[in-house]
């Protein structure tokens, strides 16, 4: 039963991948390449390379494409469902319980304690993006894009959609 295998292949990375989509990439590779042999390492790395250069969450792009390759449109659906549904269900349950008690001082204290951690996590993530950009396109391009996009988004309050579209055009022609 191919659909059951597709389900399992993406269910396991979905519930073991702590740290968001990118953390589940090696887990997906383990299932798809080593366990089920649907692709070889070369094919997998090509899927990963294209997936990384397209927008959107990486885990569902991989699940959708590999599911489609293996089992057609229904396979794509099963792959994406197995990736998304378990963790989504968990967060829905946990947050609805939490918000039932949102006026309790304990729950307020949770929000308070966790905020600096989120701050640091986002800060580290920002730093990594700048680091990656520096490695990709060097200091001057990075600095130029950083300053221009900061001014456009924060000073001129332009919606990020326009700024990102602008950067896409700039990058497509000039980088």
């Amino acid at each position: 039963m191919i659909y059951w295998e597709i389900f399992l292949a993406f269910f396991i990375p979905g519930i073991l991948g702590y740290g968001g989509g990118p953390a589940s990439i090696p887990l997906v590779e383990n299932e798809v390449v080593s366990r089920y042999g649907w692709m070889d390492v070369q094919q997998f790395s090509e899927v990963l390379a294209l997936g990384n250069s397209l927008p959107g969450p990486i885990a569902t792009k991989m699940a959708g494409y590999i599911g489609y390759e293996v089992g057609g449109p229904l396979g794509a659906f099963v792959g994406v469902f197995a990736t998304v549904a378990p963790s989504l269900l968990l967060i829905l349950i946990l947050l609805s319980v939490l918000y039932k008690y949102k006026d309790s001082p304990k729950v307020k204290r949770m929000t308070l304690y966790v905020r600096p951690v989120i701050g640091v996590l986002l800060g580290i993530m920002a730093w990594r993006f700048f680091g990656e950009s520096y490695a990709n396109i060097g200091f001057f391009q990075t600095a130029f894009l950083t300053v221009v996009s900061y001014l456009l988004m924060e000073k001129f309050k332009l919606h990020p959609a326009f700024v990102i579209s602008g950067a896409l055009i700039y990058g497509g022609f000039l980088l």
């Binding site: 979905g14 702590y18 740290g19 968001g20 990118p22 899927v47 294209l50 250069s53 397209l54 959107g56 969450p57 990486i58 885990a59 569902t60 959708g64 494409y65 998304v84 378990p86 963790s87 989504l88 968990l90 967060i91 829905l92 946990l94 947050l95 939490l98 918000y99 001082p105 304990k106 307020k108 949770m110 929000t111 308070l112 966790v114 905020r115 600096p116 951690v117 989120i118 701050g119 640091v120 996590l121 800060g123 993530m125 920002a126 993006f129 990656e132 950009s133 990709n136 990075t142 996009s149 900061y150 990020p160 959609a161 990102i164 950067a167 896409l168 700039y170 990058g171 497509g172 980088l175």
Partner: protein, 193 residues
């Protein structure tokens, strides 16, 4: 109908603009959900992000699914998850089945490369907003101490953020009495309606 259209558009934009995987879409989701459509406040978004980071699985679809559900039930949830994932899956299938050689997308790499610093700026701005909130909530002295401690734990001792957040959540639940450093009540007003 209008609401569902808004949910679709909000997460469609997030899906096709989030270059660099799920985490890069966090500031975009924040922009749409908190700033533009005001479906939730910074507080709830922060809680969602914290729990989302503690739980396994892709972050982008957890955010989309929960927010969609909060705004308009199961249908909203499906709508948001599909809007986040479908467009790029189509793109992926289309490109991989039409390109026999994988070498021909240098220009795509150029596009991605230019977007990464923009996402960096958005993340940096969001970071500053969270730190400011933390400072207002628990005072600047405790906040700075805590930021340093968290940074050391995560980056130098390589503790997994999920474990740290989980431990703090449990600490907040079991701590009774003692030094009550709670947020002033006014701070929550207007949020999470």
């Amino acid at each position: 109908m209008k609401l569902h259209w808004n949910i679709f558009i909000a997460f469609f934009r997030v899906g096709i603009l989030g270059y660099g995987g799920g985490p890069s879409s966090i500031p975009l989701v924040h922009k749409e959900v908190v700033d533009k459509y005001k479906w939730m406040g910074d507080e709830e978004f922060g809680d969602l992000l914290a729990l989302g980071n503690t739980l396994p699985g892709p972050i982008a679809t957890k955010l989309a699914g929960y927010i969609g559900y909060r705004v308009s039930g199961v249908l909203g949830m499906l709508n948001a998850v599909l809007a986040t994932t479908l467009p790029t899956i189509f793109l992926m299938i289309l490109l991989l089945s039409s390109l026999s050689s994988m070498k021909g997308y240098d220009w795509v790499h150029g596009m991605t490369a230019a977007v990464i610093p923009v996402v960096g700026v958005m993340l940096a701005v969001l970071t500053w907003q969270f730190i400011q909130k933390a400072g207002q909530g628990m005072g600047w002295f405790s906040t700075i101490i805590m930021l340093i401690a968290v940074f050391i734990l995560l980056e130098i001792l390589h503790l997994h953020p999920g474990i740290l957040i989980g431990a703090l959540l449990i600490l907040a639940l079991v701590k009774i009495g003692g030094k009550e450093d709670e947020a002033p009540p006014s701070e929550r007003d207007g949020d999470s309606s």
